[in-house]
């Protein structure tokens, strides 16, 4: 294997002052986690303000790249060749080998930049630059030097060993999961909520999730599908504690006691209340939903006001300004789309009225909810008590 190591570049977290160490540690932890499922053994460590991934055994290059591309906080990473070179001649030979293996065609402009961290190395960096550059030009006739705007930088770092790297593979950006608290995602089987979860965990937030199951109106397959979606989001976010709430009795009770066109909005309010309960229990700082303004009756601005007022935690709605197609694009990119569109009924649609209220008035809704006062607390407590947990990893 040519590359023994990867140098990880992280942008945003580098500028966070005193919190920097916290962020770096979170990133190291997330990289370790993501590589656990990759073949081979890896050592991830911080050194002089950088994070390195050393490959201790044989490994699958494409697999490692794919895993690192899912770790939030990584802006980019470079495959690194480690060389035992002791002289500029040996460094040049290894660099030639490195270039021929890194790039399919060698017809770009370049610049060599050497850093001599080991000051007992006898040749100064400028001379190494010039010598290696010259040898590269001899070895690859199509290469040209451009010290101002090179197409490719070639870095040589002389430390206890010599590190040679050049190509930067883009990472997903964002911030390492765990560096920014925790949130509770309301996960349905649809396209939007997994995307919302992805976007929030991209900002460093750890996720748990809650799903409302309504047997026999929703099937075991629908539940399986949500578990699958949680696993897909977990590839980015790390393990998710998925709460599966049996919501049937609450839904039927609302159906019995409240005006039919208010069913969905009142149902949403109870979902928020239950989600908030679990958020507090899990010490999460916020709720996350996949709502997008005006997409359906329960997502009009008036509806959001009415569902929002039942909880005191902030509710993050990262898709609020997205069009459906924009959401679909992200879902396709992160791989949840195909699963999301499997045609199983979800609990929001089973009793939906033909013409649900689109501009609910909070006083009217509160008044309707009074009809529930006899049994609703008991039903909510029962739903919470019987909630099933699935560890989505």
């Amino acid at each position: 294997m040519t590359f023994h190591s990867f140098l990880v570049k992280y942008g945003e977290i580098g500028v966070k002052g005193k919190n920097r160490k916290l962020f770096e540690d979170a990133l190291v932890k997330q990289i370790r986690r993501s590589l656990k499922s990759a073949e081979g053994e890896f050592e991830v460590y911080k050194e002089q303000g950088r994070i390195y991934v050393d490959c201790l055994t044989d490994y699958d290059y494409d697999e490692v790249v794919e895993h690192l591309q899912r770790v939030f906080g990584i802006v980019g990473f470079c495959p690194v060749m480690k060389s035992e070179a002791e002289t500029p001649e040996q460094i040049a030979e290894d660099t030639i080998r490195f270039i021929s293996q890194t790039y399919d065609t060698q017809d770009f402009t370049f610049k060599v930049e050497t850093r001599r961290a080991r000051k007992d190395f006898p040749v100064p960096s400028m001379e190494v630059n010039a010598y290696v550059g010259g040898r590269l030009l001899e070895a690859f006739p199509q290469l040209r030097v451009d010290v101002h705007h090179p197409q490719q930088m070639i870095y040589i770092e002389i430390r206890d060993q010599v590190y040679i790297y050049s190509k930067i593979i883009p990472g997903p950006g964002g911030m390492p999961v765990g560096s920014n608290g925790k949130a509770m995602l309301l996960l349905s089987g649809g396209i939007d909520s997994p995307v919302a979860g992805y976007m929030i965990c991209k900002r460093g937030v750890k996720l748990d999730a809650v799903y409302f199951h309504a047997p026999p109106y929703t099937s075991e397959q629908a539940k399986e599908k949500v578990v699958d979606l949680a696993r897909m989001v977990a590839k980015y976010s790390g393990p998710i504690d998925l709460h599966i709430v049996n919501f049937t009795d609450i839904q039927l009770y609302i159906y019995e006691k409240c005006p039919h066109d208010e069913l969905t909005i009142i149902m949403r309010r109870y979902m928020m209340r239950i989600a908030e309960h679990f958020a507090n229990e899990a010490r999460a700082h916020a709720l996350v939903t996949g709502e997008s303004l005006g997409q359906v009756a329960s997502q009009t601005i008036q509806s959001l006001v009415v569902t929002n007022e039942v909880c005191s935690l902030p509710v993050f709605r990262p898709l609020i300004g997205f069009d459906k197609q924009e959401i679909v694009d992200v879902a396709q990119r992160i791989g949840t789309f195909e699963t999301s569109i499997l045609p199983y009924e979800d609990c929001c649609t089973i009793f939906v009225a033909k013409h649900p209220v689109t501009k609910p008035n909070r006083n009217v809704i509160r008044k309707s909810e009074l009809n529930l006062s006899e049994k609703i607390n008991e039903l909510v407590a029962e739903a919470i008590r019987t909630t099933e947990h699935i560890w989505a990893d």
Partner: protein, 385 residues
Amino acid sequence: MECYLDNSATTRVLPQVCELAAKVMTEDYGNPSSRHRKGLEASRYLKTAREQIAATLKVSEKEIFFTSGGTESANWALIGGALANRRAGKHIITTAVEHAAVLMPLQFLKEEGWEITFLPVDESGHISVQDLKQAVREDTTLVSVMMVNNELGTIEPVEEIGTWLKKEYPGVLFHVDAIQAYGKYRILPKRMGIDLLSVSGHKLHAPKGTGFLYIREKTKIRPYIYGGGQQQGMRSGTDNVPGAAALGLAAKEAYAHLDETAAHLQELKQQMVSGLQALPGVVVLSPLDETGAPHIVTAAFSQVRSEVLLHALEERNIYVSSGSACTSNKKLPVSGVIREIHLDKALEDSVLRFSFSRFTTQEEISYALKALQEILPFLRKYTRH
């Protein structure tokens, strides 16, 4: 109580069938193509299985070809039969209510230039032999009709069709999809004028991945899988010895108990149908007379979505099939026969199928009927407005 009323989807493997397959897999695991003793031992299982199956149909063992199941058998019969007879003509006749295992290979043939005639059915799913007689042309080379409809249990008049074809159009191949019929009915291909007969193992207490195609001797048909020349060069691939042995034994068992099975299933059907008819808002769609198979009872439940009823029954460990799949957002196409019998639109999404095996008990039927009696009023109370 577990109440499995979905035997037309699949059946439980018989314990003795399972034991036999396990013995073949762990002890007599040779490759029948091998020249040593182990190979010979294995090939004996194949021979026995062929003989067992041939005996149930009163045909020669050389006419039995093992496949991976009903779908492969039907694909082979139709595509292999059509290709081998393409010079004689490219017209095929079938019914509008066939299973996808027949419809999809015909769709393939249609794209390859064949012309397909689909015969319509009446409100109980029967085709008319008269329609078929009128549809046959000079260039017709293949007729394919299912014996028992998988959704309604309707029995099609295959014997009448087969004998007429043999008399009037002896060159036309007649394929029968007997996937729901084999093991429930005496099927005699020679007497019924059947050239090709598709059977699936897992519908009669053999494992999934087993099945056979009966091919009448001298039938013009192409091989389906090319390779090492197994099964007279018609269907290559290392023989599935445990599967074949299991299928042979299951077939033998099914036909050893045929008469008592028929009587038992008929009783169960009676019980189910009268129980259903006593419930308000239930319409039994399966034919009630002898033109309906005794192991399938399909009914529509007004104001109830079949998917929801299915899951509500599932909560009580009762397993059934829904007639068509549909979600609130997207209407999926209604299943073939439900569309073809022109059921009231309001009932299209309310169809359930109950299907029995010879191991189904009257207690199970009573349990299911009692559950329906409780569930239906509850579900009807909460409906979409």
